[in-house]
C-alpha cells in the first residue's frame, strides 16, 4: 500500500484556544497558493467536495476566513479496504493587508477549487517614478 507524504496528507485545521465547532466531524486546512501581480493578489485553495453553495468567505477587519463544507458521502457498500485520506470540512484564515479594495473581491469555486481575486487598492500599486536629469 502506498504511503501518503506530508505534502499531500491533509493537515488538521488550526483551532483557536477554547473555540469549539458546532458541526461534528473533522476540519482540515486546505492547501493554498498565494501569489500576486501588479493589479491583484490571488488566493487559490484546494477544497475537493465543495461547491459555490457550500463555501463561506468572510473578511473581518484584516482577517480573511475561508470555510468549506463537505457533505460526508453516504457509507459505501462493502468493507473499507484502505483509507488514505480523510474527508471533512475545510477552514483556514489569513491576515491580509488593509490595502485591498474590499468591494471588488471576486471568488469562484470550480471543480473543488476556490479562487479569490483581491484587487489591490490604488495606493498599493507600484508606481513608476520617472527620473529626469537636472
Amino acid at each position: 500500500m502506498a504511503r501518503a507524504t506530508d505534502s499531500i496528507q491533509k493537515k488538521e485545521a488550526f483551532a483557536a484556544e477554547g473555540v469549539e465547532r458546532t458541526r461534528s466531524g473533522d476540519v482540515y486546512s486546505p492547501n493554498a497558493d498565494i501569489f500576486e501581480d501588479k493589479e491583484n493578489i490571488y488566493l487559490v485553495a484546494d477544497m475537493p467536495g465543495v461547491d459555490e453553495s457550500s463555501v463561506d468567505i468572510r473578511l473581518e477587519k484584516n482577517v480573511l476566513t475561508l470555510n468549506g463544507y463537505v457533505k460526508i458521502p453516504e457509507k459505501e457498500e462493502g468493507i473499507e479496504w484502505f483509507r488514505e485520506y480523510p474527508v471533512g470540512d475545510y477552514h483556514r484564515s489569513f491576515t491580509i493587508s488593509n490595502a485591498i479594495d474590499r468591494d471588488r473581491i471576486a471568488a469562484t469555486v470550480r471543480d473543488g477549487v476556490l479562487r479569490l481575486t483581491l484587487p489591490k487598492a490604488e495606493s498599493l500599486k507600484p508606481r513608476q517614478i520617472t527620473v529626469t536629469s537636472g
Binding site: R3, D33, D37, V44, Y85
Partner: protein, 146 residues
C-alpha cells in the same frame, strides 16, 4: 519541475518527513517522463464487496477529460496532469502548496474486473470509480455428486 525548498522552524524539523518529501518530489519528477511506476498521488479510499470495488480520489482543479482511467485485468491505473496554475506574467508567489504536474498510480485489485461495466463519476474535484467483478472471476459453487 523544480524542487521546492521549504523553510521550517527547528522544532518542526523531522528527518523522516524530509525523506518522504524528497521521495514524493522524485516520484513526481519521474512521473513526468512517463515512467510506469506506482506513485503516491493521488491518495485514495477504497471499499470492496464480493462483487465490486469502489474507489474515490480527490483531484481538485482537474477536468474530467484530463483524467485517464485504464483497467487491465486486475489492475487499475489512474493518470493525469494537474494543471500549472496561471500563465500570467510577472507573478510573485507567497505560498505554493498545491501540487501540479503529471501523476500516475496503479492499484492492484482483489479480483479481475469487467472493463465494460466500470462506472466513473467526477464532481467538485472528487472522483468516484466503481469496478464490478468480471463474471468469469466469480467463485462458482461446486456441488458434490452422489
Amino acid at each position: 519541475m523544480v524542487l521546492t525548498l521549504q523553510k521550517r522552524r527547528m522544532e518542526d524539523w523531522n528527518p523522516w518527513r524530509e525523506l518522504q518529501n524528497v521521495q514524493s518530489e522524485m516520484n513526481r519528477l519521474l512521473g513526468r517522463f512517463g515512467y510506469p511506476e506506482t506513485g503516491v498521488y493521488p491518495a485514495m479510499n477504497a471499499w470492496k464487496t464480493e462483487d465490486d470495488v469502489t474507489l474515490t480520489a480527490e483531484l481538485p482543479g482537474m477536468k474530467a477529460d484530463d483524467i485517464e482511467i485504464s483497467v487491465a485485468g486486475d489492475t487499475l491505473t489512474l493518470k493525469g496532469t494537474r494543471p500549472e496554475e496561471d500563465e500570467r506574467e510577472n507573478l510573485t508567489y507567497h505560498r505554493r502548496e498545491r501540487l501540479a504536474g503529471h501523476f500516475a498510480r496503479t492499484i492492484q485489485l482483489p479480483f479481475h474486473v469487467d472493463a465494460d461495466k466500470v462506472e466513473a463519476r467526477f464532481s467538485n474535484g472528487v472522483l468516484n470509480i466503481r469496478l464490478p467483478r468480471v463474471e468469469s472471476d466469480k467463485p462458482r459453487k461446486i456441488s458434490i455428486g452422489k
